[in-house]
């Protein structure tokens, strides 16, 4: 069941588009904002609200990389692995994060504190290497800066 808040927020998007389906990506993001990820049950509930087939909505949910179809940790680390960051030391940053977190890319720490994901170019190539911690961009990364950023996220 969608919560009353989720339903209200989704319905508030209806006037912005001429069809209900156009709201579906925003709707999945709303669910994710409330629950951290999008479980199967929510895909079915959102599909029903938007008059869509659940399978069609799942095809959309799995297409876009910002929709998480599996649970993630309290904080999501997105390390840029595109070309400018690669030149500027992406591999060193990845190795450092792997060592500090004890997990590889695509994994979540046992205490559910961090999920570590690769990400394509974050559009800050003049400040490479970069990563995002949740919604925030962190640029000109060094091992020391990464340690400080991890420290702040409980």
């Amino acid at each position: 069941m969608l919560s009353p808040e989720e339903k209200k927020e989704i319905e508030a998007e209806f006037p912005l588009y001429p069809t209900k389906q156009a709201v579906c990506i925003d709707a999945l993001k709303i669910v994710q904002r409330h629950r951290g990820w999008v479980p199967d049950e929510a895909v079915r509930d959102v599909a029903a609200l938007l008059d869509m087939a659940p399978d069609e909505l799942d095809g959309i949910a799995t297409f876009y990389n910002r929709i998480f179809r599996r649970p993630v940790g309290r904080h999501v680390i997105l390390l840029c692995d595109s070309v400018s960051c690669w030149i500027m030391g992406y591999e060193r940053m990845r190795a450092h994060l792997t060592e500090r977190l004890g997990i590889g890319l695509g994994q979540t720490t046992a205490d559910h504190r961090f999920t570590f994901l690769p990400n394509v170019c974050l559009g800050a190539c003049d400040r490479a290497p970069v990563m995002m911690m949740d919604e925030d961009l962190h640029a000109d990364l060094t091992k020391e800066r990464i340690d400080a950023i991890l420290e702040e996220c409980q």
């Binding site: 069809t19 595109s82 400018s84 500027m88």
Partner: protein
């Protein structure tokens, strides 16, 4: 010497905060819109056509021509749509982020004028999810613009009405392709659509739609305010205007600079980016984001505009260059670039999803020291299989541009990887 004009970045605050409406108007903002609203939509379109403005998203299509294909007059289908493509995701590109975060009203004014010229009813900004600061700046600026009657019903008493909505995307590089973007906005998987029909005729929800890049739209207020001849005069070449050029990689001062269109790669690299870091030599550059051909030392004096750089066998693309130094492995770099394209293929057409993953695997094997005789032939063949016309959209042909030119310029490096069964750039065992 006359002061170089920088219309796009002139008002950007040194503290990095977004320019607010009052400051924007004090600096001459919304004058272009006021002027446009006193003209007919046809006259606005004609002004932009005469300015010679070409699309800044990478393809360089003339903006006025793009707009002129939209049906107009009493029989035209409505609602018509204008979409700002703010889904910047080309590896190595970081120019639209700057314009979005620092001067949101400039984009909004450009969009209102563009929408007026094509008689659009609704405008969407298709914004990349990662650009949170841009989302905040745009939402605030749209509210300010509406409060001051620059958006909504009867804009500045002209009788023209426009609604503007920010749509935050959920990822995937393919959304930058304009027809894939339309599918994403409609709440579908972002597979590109077959063209024709072109979006100007059959676009969002089947209605006439124009999709323009952020930097393209940001030029519009200045063209209206100062005229097409002024805009042409900003450039060093026949391609009009200024351009946001950038440099990343191991240069002394990576960054972004607004310079006359047609500035040479050498000036960007040596004067603005400060040359290479100490101890490193320039090897090559990808001049316009990952999907453009390499240029080398021999091409540095080529003027970076849409037509001149073609003579060096490359494309202007986004104008943000990725610099390769002599200590970074070109095969490793190409592996990184092709892995990106293989991952971001939408999976719709076979030459793309199949070909790109094959290319990516071969380059990865070479870099690990597992390259084989014959690999270079396969890579060369793939650049032909994925040439323009053989795939559904421009993603795979774009992916082949750095590879095809890299196979030429770095032939010796590829051979060494295969012969020595190792990457010669990684530290010796």
């Amino acid at each position: 010497m006359p002061t170089m004009e920088k219309p796009l970045t002139r008002n950007i605050r040194s503290d990095g905060a977004a320019l607010e409406r009052a400051a924007y108007e004090r600096a001459g903002g919304y004058e272009g819109l006021r002027k446009a609203l006193r003209m007919t939509p046809e006259a606005v379109l004609d002004t932009v056509r005469r300015s010679g403005l070409r699309g800044r998203g990478g393809a360089g299509f003339p903006t006025g021509v793009k707009w002129s294909l939209v049906p107009r007059g009493a029989d035209a289908p409505h609602p018509k749509y204008l979409v700002a493509n703010a889904d910047e995701m080309e590896p190595g590109a970081f120019k639209d982020r700057f314009l979005l975060e620092k001067d949101p009203h400039q984009l909004i004014e450009g969009m209102i004028i563009a929408a007026y010229a094509i008689e659009a009813d609704v405008a969407y900004i298709f914004l990349r999810w990662a650009y949170r600061e841009a989302k905040e700046a745009l939402s605030r600026a749209i509210a300010e613009a509406a409060e001051h009657h620059c958006l909504g019903k009867d804009i500045l008493g002209s009788g023209y009405s426009l609604e503007m909505i920010v749509h935050v995307s959920a990822g995937r590089y393919i959304c930058g392709e304009e027809t894939a973007l339309l599918n994403a906005l409609e709440g579908k998987r972002a597979n590109p659509r077959s063209k024709p029909p072109y979006p100007q005729m059959v676009g969002l929800w089947g209605k006439p739609t124009v999709v323009n890049n952020v930097e393209t739209l940001c030029n519009i207020p200045h063209i209206l305010k100062n005229g097409p001849d002024w805009f042409k005069g900003l450039s060093h070449t026949n391609d009009s205007g200024t351009k946001l050029y950038g440099a990343s990689g191991k240069v002394k001062r990576p960054g972004l600079w607004e310079l006359p269109m047609g500035t040479t790669a050498r000036e960007i690299l040596e004067e603005h980016a400060g040359g290479m870091r100490d101890g490193l030599r320039f090897r090559a550059a990808i001049p316009g984001g990952a999907s453009t051909e390499f240029i080398t030392e021999a091409h540095l004096d080529v003027r970076m505009d849409f037509d001149e750089i073609r003579k060096a066998g490359s494309r202007l693309g986004t104008g943000t260059m990725i610099v390769l130094d002599d200590r970074t492995c070109p095969v490793g770099l190409l592996w990184n670039v092709e892995r990106f394209f293989a991952q971001e293929s939408c999976g719709w057409c076979t030459p793309c999803w199949s070909g790109l993953s094959w290319v990516e695997q071969i380059l990865g094997a070479m870099e690990r020291g597992e390259g084989e005789e014959g690999d270079l032939e396969i890579l060369r063949e793939q650049t032909k299989f994925m040439a323009p016309g053989n795939t559904f959209c421009a993603l795979a042909p774009g992916a082949m541009e750095p590879l095809a030119s890299g196979l030429n310029y770095f032939h010796g490096d590829f051979e060494r990887h295969i012969r020595e069964k190792r990457c010669p750039y990684s530290p010796p065992l």
